[in-house]
Each structure stands twice: as C-alpha cells, then as structure tokens.
Amino acid sequence: MTEVTAVEARNAVKAFGQGEASVRALDDVSIKINKGEFFTLLGPSGCGKTTLLRLIAGFEMPTSGTILLEGADITYLPPNKRPVNTVFQSYALFPHLTVAQNIGFGLEMQGRPRAEVKATVDRMLALVKLEPMANRKTSQLSGGQQQRVALARALAPAPKVLLLDEPLSALDLKLRKEMQIELKRLQMETGITFVFVTHDQEEALTMSDRIGVMSAGKLQQIGTPREIYTKPVNRFVASFIGETNFLPARRDGDALRLGEGHLIELPAGVPEGRAVTVTVRPEQVRLVDASEAGAIPATVQSLVYFGTDTHCHMALADGTEVVARLQSSATGEAALAQGQKVAFRFAAGAVQVLED
C-alpha cells in the first residue's frame, strides 16, 4: 500500500533574531506525515517542535524552505485560508462565547449555512460527549471539559490536518490518561491526520503511529514507537526515550569488547577498530550465574526499589556503570545486597550501536 502524504516540510528553516544573535529554532527539517496517521513530534522544550507546528498552522513563516499540504505549496498562505486547525496548549477558548458558539466559530467564519453549522455543532458535541454543556460559558467548565471543547472546535470544520500543541499538559495525571485514550478514539473515528506535539515520551509511545524525535532544531529520528524505543539511532534519542545504559565499546575480531574487558556477541554494523558507544535498556540486562558462558562479573553499587521492579546499579571492574531492571518478585531481590559480587548478561539482540 502506498502512503499518501498529508503534510510535508521541505528543508524548513526558522531563525529568530538577526545576525550574530540569530537562533535557528528549526534547522533544515524535512518530514512527510502520512494521511490518516497519528504523528507525534517529540522533544524537550525549545527543540523546535512547536515552531514546526506553527509553520504548518501558518502562524509563522519559515525563513527558508517549503510547507506542502497534500502536495500544494501553502508556505505563505495565511492561517485563516488553510484547511488546518489547531488545539492550543492553553485551549484559547473564547471566553465571551458559549461552548456551542465556540465549536461553531470556524464553520461560521467559513460562511456555512446556519442549519449545517447547527448540525455539525450537535454532532461534535455528541462526539466529545458534551451535549448538556452546549449553552454554558467556557469558564464554567472543568479543565478536561475545556479540553474537549477545544478538540471539538478544531475538528468541527473537518480540517485536513489537526495540529495539537501539548494539549494534555495542563491536565492532571488521571485525566491525561483518559484523554490519551479519547484522542486516539477521536482520531480513529474521524480518520483525520493528527500532528501531536509533546515532550512526554510516554504519551508519544502510547498514542502515536509514528514519532519524530527532535532536538536542537533538528529531526533526530523518525519511526514507529517500537523502532524509536528499541533501535534508537543516537545517544539523544536513546536517552530521551526511556532509561538506558551507555557503554563504550570496540570491535575485537568477531566480538565486541566492552571498555577494556569483556567480549560480547557482535551486533551488525560495527566497523573494525573504531570506538563506538552501545546502548542496552536496563530491562534487557539479566543477572546470571557467574559460571554461565559470556557472563560479565560486576559489583552491586546500590539498589533502588520502584515497586514493580528494582533498579540494580552495578560497576564493572573498570568502573563502567550498568543498571539492570529486575522485576520484583515475592522473594527475588532480597538475595541482593550492596557490595555483593554478581554477574550479568545482555539479552540476545538487545545491544544497539549508536551513530555517534
């Protein structure tokens, strides 16, 4: 099946300020977002994800580069001429209008007939389950309800792409979980392309079809949540998503030598001689009997209890630190103590070689 591109950015650059003081919020970013997918832009604050979103929405013009919507150049099209709608971080609900008036605003501005506006507003109210609130002022709603109104308002004109700028960040944890499911449901039901911006890696992993990880104005990696988590391409992606171990390594014939010491199975793509960094997720580190083939001896430095699991911080002979995540069991971790000599192995295929 060939994917149809909904939105595309080509070599988008956005610089703020001039001359010496100029900062590149977006540094030559190219990206294709497919029709009907739930795409997440993930990164720390200031990485350029919101800037990219604002370029797509038309609130900002790129310094150079092109933005395309279904193949048409919309780089300089004003926001009110773009079939793209935004759910704002602060919701930006009109305080002087009712819930229904807020939802109908876009359709009204487009000059749709009254009956159609009413019908769509009713449909949207049903979609976000807010029918009883139709004539309330937005200030009388709870945070979660305001969030739904903002969603309904942006969905009402049936945009080609819906942009969501950290829409869940103002909600408490429980509500946020509910809304994550709700958002996913809405996206499935409407079939609209969602471009979701967040700094919350868990949110990104649970909701997205694909994720674009950004840092320092550049796209670091694009992939499915599973790809991003299991096959991070560089140190930034590996450390930003989940917890991980970084180990210096070097190819030694048909094996990989960790630091100065132990040989492990060689993953693909490691050139002879050059020093590399490998990464292994803590849950892929298993404590084993020291006699087992390929077991690496280490000393327990500290144990941190997390409830469902325990993090075991270990040091190799050369001082390199490795963390193992051990699932809690009724008796398991009681056997471990600080200073104890242990041995571990990495699960097969769990070692990932990083680009830098």
Partner: protein, 302 residues
C-alpha cells in the same frame, strides 16, 4: 530575515502609526503643538491690550527675574516674583513631605488589611482621588475658614476664644494642597507596598532587626520606587497648582500658576506669561527626568 518577515515588520510599523494617527492628531492640535507656540510667544513683544506684537524681544525672559525701572531702564531683582517662586517651591516641598509622612502609614495600613477589607479601604482612598479638585478645595475651605467647622468646634468647646484666622494665608494653601494631593501620594505607595513580600519582614526579624530597623533597612529601600513616584505625582501638580492657591490663598498669596494667569489677565504681559510657563515646564521636565532615571536605576539593581 526573509522577505516575508520584512514585509510583516513593515506592515506592523505602518499599522501602528495609522491606528495611532487620530490620537496623535488630536494631541498635536490641542496639547503638544500649542506648547511650541508658547515658546515662540515668549520671545515676542507684549501688545497693548494683551496678546503680542510680532517683534523679537527678550523682555519676557528677563522679566522672570528682573524688573525694569520705569525711568532709567536699569534692571532690579524683582522681589515680588522672587517671593512667588519661593512660596511655590517651599509649599510644594512641604506638601510632598507631609503627604509622604502621613501617606506612607496610610498606604501600609491599606496594604496589610485582609484582601476583602483592603479592596474597601482602597476604594475609600480612590474616591477623593477622582473627585473634582475644586470640590475638594471647597470642602477643605468649609473646615478651615474663619466661620468653618474647625473654628466652630474649637470655639464651642472653649479651647479658643477667638477664631483661628488662617484662610488666605500660606498655611491655608499648604493645608489645602496637602489635602487635595494626598491620594496622589497614597496610591503609588500602596502599589509598591502591595508588591512587597511580607516574608522579608519575617527574615528581618529573624535576623534580630528591631521594628525601626526593619522599616529603615528593609521596607523603605524596597518600596523606594513607590516613594519616588508618589513624590513626583505630588510635587509636579503642586508646583503648577492654580485652583487651590486661588481659592484658599485669596489672590494675594499667589503661586506660579496664578502668576502666569495674571500675565494673561490683568497683567497683559503675554510674553512674560509664556516665558514663565516655559520655565515651569522645564522644571517639571527635570523632575520627571529625575524620576525616570531613579526608576530605571531601580530596575537595573532589582
């Protein structure tokens, strides 16, 4: 910046000016522009029946400080003018000091009330602030004039046997100005005390400061911007006061404002009036400049 951004900036500038144009036009025509005409008039020759003749003449400016002898045209320091300037400056300073002395405790009192009560006290100080200055001058006149409330009560209670005659004296003008300009001092003081973090007081007392030390070493330095603002807001209109000295000073105890008016009325010396106006404006601008610098310095330090 891209061409699109340049175009946006140009549009912003153009819209800013276009939208401000009506306000600027009105202000140029009926406020700022005429000030230039005053400057021009100060260098012209007085007309016989008021107004001016279009001939260059520095007498207006000289007349601020000197009088010309009618016979030999020698210049003498004008004592009458001097006493008016001295009165204006003296009364303005005194007004500023007394309004601060009683305004600061008042502002502190309001700022330390619980929120609901504070809104009420603040409203009570705002009413006189917005009440017609003339009415407030009448009101204080009701109290201090010879048959006024003050004397009636004092005579009735037997504290005095003769009414205290202060109306039409400098004292009356001073009391009047302090009364009418007090809210101008309290409001900026309140604004800056309101922003003051009361935790700092706890820190001060925790570090063994006495109440007076906390006041002098913690509170006053921090609320200084409010003190400067309040002082300027009182000093500037005091210096240019016209209504209060006219009503309470009774025509004899003139201040600069009344002296300027005189030149355009019976005095019929428009160039002198114009030169006096420019001088007053200059003094006020210097005071404002001082204020701006004090405020900016505060920002840099804070």
């Amino acid at each position: 910046m891209s061409a699109a951004e340049d175009a946006q900036a140009a549009t912003a500038t153009r819209n800013g000016w276009l939208l401000s144009a009506p306000a600027l036009a009105i202000l140029t025509f009926a406020a700022a522009g005429p000030l230039l005409i005053v400057l021009v008039y100060s260098f012209l020759t007085p007309g016989r029946y008021g107004n001016v003749e279009w001939a260059l003449n520095f007498d207006g400016w000289i007349g601020i400080l000197y009088t010309k002898d009618i016979f030999d045209e020698t210049l003498k320091l004008a004592d009458a003018n001097m006493s008016i300037f001295w009165r204006s400056i003296k009364l303005s300073f005194l007004t500023t000091i007394i309004t601060f002395a009683v305004g600061f405790p008042t502002a502190w009192f309001i700022a330390t009330r619980p929120p609901k009560a504070r809104a009420l006290w603040l409203f009570l100080i705002t009413i006189p602030f917005w009440t017609n200055l003339l009415i407030r001058t009448f009101a204080i006149n009701e109290v201090i004039r010879n048959e006024g409330l003050m004397n009636t009560v004092l005579l009735w209670s037997g504290i005095i046997s003769e009414p205290i005659r202060i109306i039409y004296t400098d004292t009356a003008v001073f009391i009047g100005m302090a009364y009418v300009y007090l809210p101008l001092m309290v409001l900026p003081l309140f604004a800056s005390i309101d922003r003051f973090d009361m935790k700092l007081l706890e820190a001060g007392y925790d570090l063994y400061a006495s109440r007076m030390q906390v006041l002098r070493r913690v509170i006053l330095p921090i609320v200084k911007p409010g003190i400067v603002a309040g002082s300027i807001l009182v000093f500037v209109p005091s210096l240019g006061a016209y209504v209060t000295p006219r009503v309470l000073g009774g025509g004899k105890n003139m201040m600069i404002g009344n002296f300027i008016e005189l030149q355009f009325g019976q005095g019929r010396n428009w160039p002198l009036g114009a030169a006096l106006s420019m001088t007053l404006l200059f003094v006020v601008m210097v005071a404002l400049l001082f204020y701006v610098r004090a405020a900016n310095g505060e920002k840099k330090n804070g």
